[in-house]
């Protein structure tokens, strides 16, 4: 551990990372749902046309921006804390927040088994800090 960061600071850094990457995932998922089957779009307007359709979709742009912020926040966090803590924590908490966000925004179904798994993951992340 190089870390002289407090638990609170670490939580804040991880939160920014997890929130932005979840927002990115959900926005991009929603963009593709809005665009529809890419094969169909490609058949209709060619490869460049399909790429253009994706790249000018506002949700895709917003999602991409969130992903970029998320990447830089990962770099920032790694400059302060160990990778054996940051990688599992950021990755797995993103799974959990994706499950919650997908349920709320994409109206996906999240069953009890997944909530149990989410609790498992949260316990695991809490243990990483010690």
């Amino acid at each position: 551990m190089i870390a002289a960061v407090t638990g609170l600071e670490l939580t804040a850094m991880l939160s920014v990372n997890v929130i932005t990457s979840t927002a990115g995932d959900i926005l991009i998922a929603s963009a593709f749902r809005h665009i529809g089957d890419l094969d169909v779009v490609k058949a209709r307007s060619g490869f460049l046309g399909a790429a253009f359709t994706v790249l000018r979709n506002p949700r895709f742009i917003a999602g991409f921006a969130c992903m970029a912020i998320s990447f830089f926040s990962l770099l920032f966090t790694l400059s302060h804390a160990d990778v054996s803590l940051v990688a599992p924590a950021a990755g797995s908490l993103t799974f959990v927040s994706n499950a919650i966000a997908a349920r709320i925004f994409l109206k996906e179904r999240v069953d009890r088994r997944r909530w149990v798994a989410a609790i498992f993951v949260c316990c695991g992340v809490a243990l990483l800090k010690h």
Binding site: D37, P88, S92
Partner: protein, 154 residues
């Protein structure tokens, strides 16, 4: 499962773990970034270790999408969570980070949790009321499938 597919899953795991570890090596060279000098993060992009990490993570994303084009995310996900174990081993034996028993237990919990969720039934097919979206998340081009399933199946 063909040997080629096992190799792709191995690539998913290794690129993800190595990519994160390389980023870590680069950022440790740079030292702690202050909130008042966030532009330092752009300087980080010029570091060889960070660049190598980015290349590996692009490789991860490509192999992840490839895997998702023939396998369910429920199948690919355990492979990605296994990457945390690889990260732990790399940081222990290469970077000489201290990994306490509690942290090992934490990593075990996470892998177990992810493994547990991935053995459950996948509800994505009938999760969406919109038939086009349903089709999109199941058979469309990889990226559609990834993002939709990624959000849905966690």
């Amino acid at each position: 499962m063909t040997p080629r597919r096992y190799i792709i899953l191995a690539i998913v795991t290794l690129t993800s773990a190595l990519g994160d570890t390389f980023l870590d090596v680069g950022m440790k060279q740079l030292g702690p970034v202050s909130l008042h000098h966030l532009s330092t993060l752009l300087v980080a992009l010029k570091l060889p270790w960070v660049l190598a990490g980015i290349v590996l993570l692009i490789g991860f994303f490509a192999s992840y999408l490839t895997a998702l084009s023939w396998a369910d995310v429920t199948f690919v996900l355990p492979a990605t969570s296994f990457a945390y174990v690889v990260v732990a081993l790399l940081s222990r034996f290469w970077l000489h980070e201290q990994i306490t028993p509690a942290r090992w237990l934490g990593i075990f919990f996470i892998v177990a949790g992810v493994g547990f969720v991935t053995r459950g039934p996948a509800y994505t097919e009938h999760a969406s009321p919109d038939p086009d979206a349903r089709l999109g998340s199941k058979v469309a081009v990889p990226i559609t499938g990834t993002v939709a399933q990624h959000g849905a199946k966690q």
